[in-house]
C-alpha cells in the first residue's frame, strides 16, 4: 500500500545490493566462521543435508528446498509449482489439513514457504530443542501429501485472490510480467511464477498430483538446518525422519535454451496509473557452475556503482542532480538456473518525459563503458560489500537462505566464498568492459508503462483536499 516506489518490483534494489554484494577484505571475518564450519552429508536416498551451526541464540531454522520452480512448468499448467506449495499445508493421512501450521505454532514456531522460478522452499524457525518435531512434520509431507480435491478447489480460489492482489491490480507487477514474457521467447522464465490467470482457472488437482510425484523426492531436495545445533545430532535426526523416504527417478530436464538476442525489443503496457515508468532488461551472463567466470563479478560491481548506495550514479545523476527521474535503479542477479538479466528501472513524474529519463539512464551506462569508473567508486562498492558480509551474520535465516540458493542454482555453498573473493579482485577495467560488452541495445528489452486515466469508477483525488478530514 505504500507509494509507487515501494510497489515497484525494483524499488528495493538499493537496499538489496547493500545486502547482497558481499566481499571479504582484510577483515578478520574468518573468526566468525571458524568455530563451527558448515558440514554436509548426503543420505542414502539422495537427500543432501547441510548444517550451519550458530550458537548465538537457542533457535534453529529448517529449510527444505526442492529444485522445482516455475521454470519447470509447461504451457497450460503455469502456476502449478506455487499452487502445490499452497497444497503442502493441506494435509497428509497423519497430519490433516491445517494441522501442519497448527502444530508448528503450538511449538512456538514460525513457518512459511515460497516459490520462485528456480525452486520451491519450506521453512520453520523454532526453539532449537523443538527441531526434531519440525523435521518429522516436514519429512511427512515430503512423501505423504493427500491432495484432496475439495481442499484444492478452495485453495485455488485463494491463489487467484493472491494473483488479483499482487498482479492484476498492480500495474508495476503487470509491467514486469510483460517484460519477462517479452525478454524470453523459448525459455520458461517467460511465465509468471504465480501462473497466468487462465491457466489457474483450468488447473486440476491431478496437475498438482503429477507435479508432486515428479519433483517431490529426496534426491531432488536439499535440507538446510541452521542454528544452535550439533551437526552429528542433526544428521541422526535427518536419517531417522527423512532417511526412509524412497528416492524416485527425476525426469530429464530439457534445457529450453533461449536463442541469442537478435535486436532490441520494446513493449508498452497501458494501465490506469499516474507515473510513467520503464524497466530495461539486458540479457547477461550468469554465474556458471564449472568456472566462476569474471563477467558476472564485474556486472555485480557495476550494479553497485550504478545504484548500490545513496551516492551511486543513477540516484545521484538522474534524481538528485538533474531532477529528471523520481527513482532510478539497477540490479543484477548472477545466481540462477536459467538465463540471467541485468535490469534497470526508472520512473518520472506525472506527465514527465520518460524517454528523456530512459536516455539519461542509458547515458550513465554509456559513460561507464566509455570513461570507466574512478578508484573511489570501486572502493566504495567494495566497502559496501565488506560491511554487508558482517551484517548478514546477524540473520540466521538469511545465511541458511544463501546455502539453499546456491545449491538449488546448481552450484555449491562452497562456491560462494570463491565468488566473494572474486568480487574483491574486480578491476575498474573489468567493470568498464562489462558495461560495454553486455549492456548494449541489441541485448535489451524495454518495457514501458503508459499511464491511462482512471476508469469511470475511479476514486476522488485528494488533491487540494487539505490535511483534515471531516467525518
Amino acid at each position: 500500500m505504500l507509494s509507487l516506489l515501494n510497489l515497484l518490483p525494483y524499488s528495493r534494489l538499493a537496499m538489496l545490493h547493500r545486502f547482497f554484494l558481499l566481499l571479504l577484505l582484510a577483515f578478520p571475518l574468518t573468526a566468525l566462521h571458524a568455530a563451527d564450519p558448515i558440514v554436509e552429508k548426503t543420505l542414502g536416498n539422495g537427500l543432501k543435508v547441510i548444517v550451519l551451526p550458530d550458537h548465538r541464540a537457542a533457535v534453529a531454522v529448517q529449510q527444505a528446498w526442492y529444485r522445482a520452480g516455475s521454470m519447470d512448468e509447461s504451457y497450460g499448467t503455469t502456476g502449478v509449482a506455487h499452487v502445490l506449495e499452497h497444497m503442502m499445508f493441506k494435509g497428509t493421512p497423519k497430519v490433516p489439513a491445517g494441522e501442519f501450521s497448527r502444530r508448528i505454532a503450538a511449538l512456538g514456531g514460525r513457518e512459511n514457504a515460497f516459490t520462485s522460478r528456480d525452486h520451491t522452499a519450506y521453512f520453520q524457525t523454532v526453539q532449537a530443542s523443538r527441531l526434531p518435531q519440525a523435521m518429522a512434520l516436514e519429512a511427512d509431507r515430503m512423501t505423504h501429501l493427500s491432495l484432496d480435491a475439495d481442499e484444492f478447489a478452495k485453495e485455488l480460489d485463494v491463489v487467484k485472490e493472491e494473483r488479483r492482489m499482487r498482479t492484476e491490480d498492480n500495474p508495476h507487477s503487470r509491467l514486469y510480467e510483460q517484460l519477462m514474457a517479452s525478454a524470453f521467447v523459448a525459455h520458461p522464465y517467460r511465465h509468471p511464477v504465480i501462473g497466468w490467470m487462465n491457466d489457474l482457472d483450468n488447473l486440476t488437482v491431478a496437475d498438482t498430483r503429477a507435479w508432486y510425484s515428479r519433483w517431490y523426492t529426496p534426491n531432488n531436495a536439499i535440507l538446510v538446518i541452521a542454528g544452535d545445533v550439533d551437526p552429528a545430532q542433526v544428521f541422526a535426526w535427518a536419517e531417522q525422519h527423512y532417511g526412509t523416504i524412497p528416492a524416485r527417478e527425476i525426469p530429464a530436464r530439457k534445457p529450453q535454451t533461449e536463442p541469442a538476442p537478435q535486436g532490441m525489443r520494446h513493449l508498452q503496457l497501458k494501465a490506469p496509473a499516474k507515473l510513467p515508468m520503464a524497466i530495461l532488461a539486458w540479457r547477461a551472463p550468469k554465474l556458471e557452475s564449472a568456472h566462476l567466470s569474471r563477467s558476472p563479478h564485474a556486472l555485480e560491481i557495476l550494479a553497485g556503482v550504478l545504484s548500490g548506495h545513496e551516492a551511486a550514479r543513477l540516484p545521484q545523476a538522474l534524481v538528485k542532480t538533474r531532477h529528471i527521474a523520481l527513482e532510478a535503479n539497477a540490479k543484477y542477479d548472477a545466481l540462477s538456473r536459467g538465463p540471467a538479466l541485468f535490469t534497470a528501472d526508472v520512473s518520472v513524474a506525472e506527465g514527465g518525459d520518460l524517454n528523456a529519463a530512459i536516455a539519461a539512464l542509458k547515458g550513465e551506462i554509456s559513460r561507464v563503458a566509455r570513461e570507466g569508473i574512478s578508484p573511489a567508486e570501486l572502493a566504495r562498492v567494495k566497502a559496501q560489500v565488506l560491511a554487508a558480509q558482517v551484517f548478514e551474520q546477524d540473520s540466521l535465516f538469511y545465511r541458511a537462505m544463501q546455502i539453499g540458493s546456491w545449491e538449488t542454482a546448481g552450484l555449491s555453498w562452497r562456491d560462494r566464498a570463491t565468488w566473494l573473493d572474486g568480487l574483491k579482485s574486480v578491476t575498474a577495467a573489468e567493470v568498464q568492459a562489462a558495461a560495454a560488452n553486455w549492456l548494449t541495445d541489441d541485448r535489451l528489452t524495454l518495457a514501458e508503462l503508459v499511464p491511462q486515466p482512471m476508469p469511470e469508477n475511479a476514486p476522488p483525488t485528494a488533491r487540494g483536499s487539505g490535511g483534515r478530514h471531516a467525518r
Partner: protein, 490 residues
C-alpha cells in the same frame, strides 16, 4: 526474479502474533532473499519518498512492539541512563558480532504536524541526511557508503526515527557517529533540495492515490480518528505548503535533547557508549518533550463508506480506536486478538475467510498500541463480487467472538505459540534493537519483556471476553470499502 516469491501464508503467521502485517513479513523475507523481492515490500526503509506519505507509514513502527515477546529467562541486560542534557539512553552490550546499531528517536511524528502542514514531520526527518554541517548531500551519502554503513529513517504518528548500522571498528564507527551528530543538530534544509523532495513526494502521492490499498488505509485512518492528529494525512496541498522556515522551526522545536531517546545495540562497551551518546547529542538544544497528544474520541455510531475503484478486488477495513501503549488490558487483548485474527492460520478470521471459503489471500486483525489509542482493525481484500459475502463472514466472526469468547483449546494454542516462540523474537541484533527502541520511546519498564510470558500465561477466557467487550463495540464500527459491487455491499 522479483515478484517471484509467493508466500504460502499471508499477513498473518504466528510470528506476528500481535500485529500481523503482510507487508512487514514479506519485506523481511525479501530482505533476506538474494535478489528476490516481493512487489509488496513495505517497511519504511525502502523508499525515501514513501516515508513522506504519512498515511503509508502509519502504524508500521508499532509493529515492532507487536512482536515483543522476550526470552523467558531474563536474558537481556538493558542499561539505561539519562544524560545531564535530558537525553535518555538505552544500551544492550553484545560483542558477538563486530557491528553496532544506533538509533535516535524524537517525539516528532506526524501527529505533531501543524494544521495545514501535514507531511512536515516526515519532510523534516527526510531532509536530515540531505546535507548537514560542513557536508553536502552527496558528501554524506559518499562517506556513509565508504564505510559501508546502512541508514534508515522512519516517521510514524508518534515517532521520528533515524538508524545507522555500522561496523564497530572505531574508524567506521566514529565516522558514522560524527555524521549522525551533524545530521541531527545542523541539517541544511536546503531550499532546492526541499523543492525536489516535495515534487517527488507529491508525484508518489498521486500514484498512491490510484492504488486501492493506499486509499482504504487512508480513509480508515481519517474515519476512525476524525479530527484527531492521528487522522491527518498528507495531501498535495499540504505538501506544497511546506517551506524551509517550517522545517527549521519544526526541527528547532522538536529535535532537542529533552525530546531524544538513543538506543545502542552491539559491539560497544559502556565507556564507549557514553562517549558516543555525548557526541551525538552534544550540539542539540536542550528543549523538552511536547505535551501529550489529546485523547482519541470514541466513534459515536457505525458507518460505512464505499469508495468506487476499478480494481478486481475490493479492499475492506473495519475498525475503531483501540488501545494505548499502557492499556491495562494489553495482555488479554494481545492473546484474544491472536485468536480472532492475529494468529495467522490459528486465527478464526483466517479459518473462516480463507481456509473454509477461499475468499481472500490475506485477512488480519490487530490492535496497534500507540501513545494515544491506536487502531483496532480488521482488513482483507477479496474479489469484487464476493465483497458482501466476505463482509458478512467477518462481521459474524467478530460478533461470535464477542458473544462467546475463545475456547479453552484456542486459548491454550495461543499461549503455546506466544510463550513458546519467545526465544525467536530476540535472536538477532536487529530484532533486539527494534524492541529496545519501543521500550525507550514509550518508557516501558526495563523488565517489561521479562514479565511478558508470565502475563500471557495468566490470561483466561473471562479476561479476554471482558477486555474485548469493553474495547470493541459492534455498534460503533467504521467500515471502509475501496472497490466494487457497491450495490451488494449494503
Amino acid at each position: 526474479m522479483h515478484a517471484s516469491v509467493y508466500l504460502q501464508k499471508s499477513a498473518s503467521a504466528p510470528r506476528a502474533a500481535w500485529r500481523p502485517d503482510r507487508k512487514a513479513r514479506t519485506a523481511a523475507i525479501a530482505q533476506l532473499w538474494r535478489g528476490y523481492a516481493t512487489p509488496r515490500a513495505g517497511m519504511p526503509s525502502g523508499s525515501n519518498v514513501a516515508r513522506l506519505l504519512q498515511v503509508s507509514a502509519k502504524h508500521l513502527a508499532l509493529f515492532a512492539l507487536c512482536l515483543l515477546p522476550w526470552a523467558a529467562q531474563a536474558g537481556l541486560d538493558i542499561q539505561h541512563w539519562v544524560l545531564t542534557n535530558g537525553a535518555r539512553v538505552y544500551f544492550v552490550e553484545n560483542h558477538s558480532l563486530p557491528m553496532l546499531d544506533v538509533s535516535v528517536q524524537f517525539d516528532a511524528g506526524s501527529a505533531r504536524d501543524p494544521v495545514g502542514k501535514s507531511g512536515l514531520a516526515g519532510m523534516t526527518q527526510h531532509l536530515l541526511n540531505l546535507g548537514a554541517g560542513n557536508l553536502s548531500e552527496q558528501a554524506i551519502a559518499e562517506r556513509l557508503a565508504d564505510i559501508g554503513a546502512q541508514q534508515s529513517g522512519s516517521v510514524d504518528d508518534d515517532r521520528a526515527s533515524f538508524s545507522l548500522r555500522v561496523l564497530s571498528d572505531p574508524a567506521q564507527r566514529d565516522t558514522a557517529v560524527a555524521i549522525l551528530g551533524a545530521m541531527l543538530s545542523a541539517p541544511h534544509f536546503d531550499a532546492t533540495i526541499l523543492e525536489r523532495e516535495k515534487a517527488r513526494a507529491i508525484a508518489a502521492l498521486r500514484e498512491s492515490e490510484t492504488q486501492p490499498e493506499f486509499l482504504v488505509e487512508r480513509a480508515f485512518s481519517q474515519t476512525i480518528f476524525g479530527n484527531h492528529p492521528y487522522g491527518m494525512t498528507s495531501s498535495e496541498t499540504s505538501l506544497s505548503a511546506l517551506r524551509r522556515e517550517d522545517l527549521i522551526a519544526f526541527h528547532r522545536h522538536h529535535y532537542t535533547t529533552g525530546n531524544l531517546t538513543l538506543t545502542l545495540m552491539g559491539d560497544l562497551n559502556r565507556a564507549e557508549a557514553e562517549k558516543l551518546v555525548a557526541t551525538v547529542s552534544a550540539a542539540l538544544p536542550a528543549g523538552h518533550a511536547p505535551a501529550p497528544l489529546p485523547p482519541v474520541a470514541e466513534l459515536t455510531a457505525s458507518s460505512q463508506q464505499v469508495i468506487p475503484h476499478h480494481a478486481t478486488q475490493s479492499h475492506i477495513r473495519i475498525g475503531q480506536p483501540g488501545m494505548t501503549r499502557d492499556d491495562p488490558d494489553y495482555f488479554p487483548l494481545l492473546v484474544g486478538n491472536y485468536i480472532l485474527g492475529g494468529g495467522g492460520f490459528d486465527s478464526r478470521l483466517t479459518k473462516a475467510v480463507r481456509d473454509q471459503r477461499g475468499l481472500s489471500y490475506s485477512v488480519h486483525s490487530y490492535f496497534s498500541p500507540m501513545g494515544q489509542r491506536g487502531p483496532f482493525q480488521i482488513g482483507l481484500s477479496t474479489r469484487r463480487d464476493a465483497t458482501h459475502q466476505a463482509l458478512q463472514v467477518v462481521r459474524d466472526t467478530l460478533q461470535n467472538f464477542l458473544d462467546q469468547g475463545p475456547t479453552e483449546a484456542e486459548l491454550t494454542q495461543a499461549k503455546n505459540q506466544l510463550v513458546g516462540g519467545f526465544p525467536l523474537r530476540l535472536d538477532s541484533n536487529k530484532k533486539i534493537a527494534q524492541y529496545l527502541s519501543v521500550i525507550a520511546f514509550y518508557r516501558l519498564p526495563l523488565d517489561w519483556l521479562d514479565r511478558y510470558p508470565v502475563a500471557v500465561e495468566k490470561v483466561n477466557r473471562e479476561d479476554i471476553l471482558r477486555a474485548f467487550r469493553s474495547r470493541v463495540h459492534p455498534d460503533r464500527l467504521a467500515t471502509l470499502i475501496v472497490g466494487g459491487d457497491v450495490a451488494t455491499a449494503r
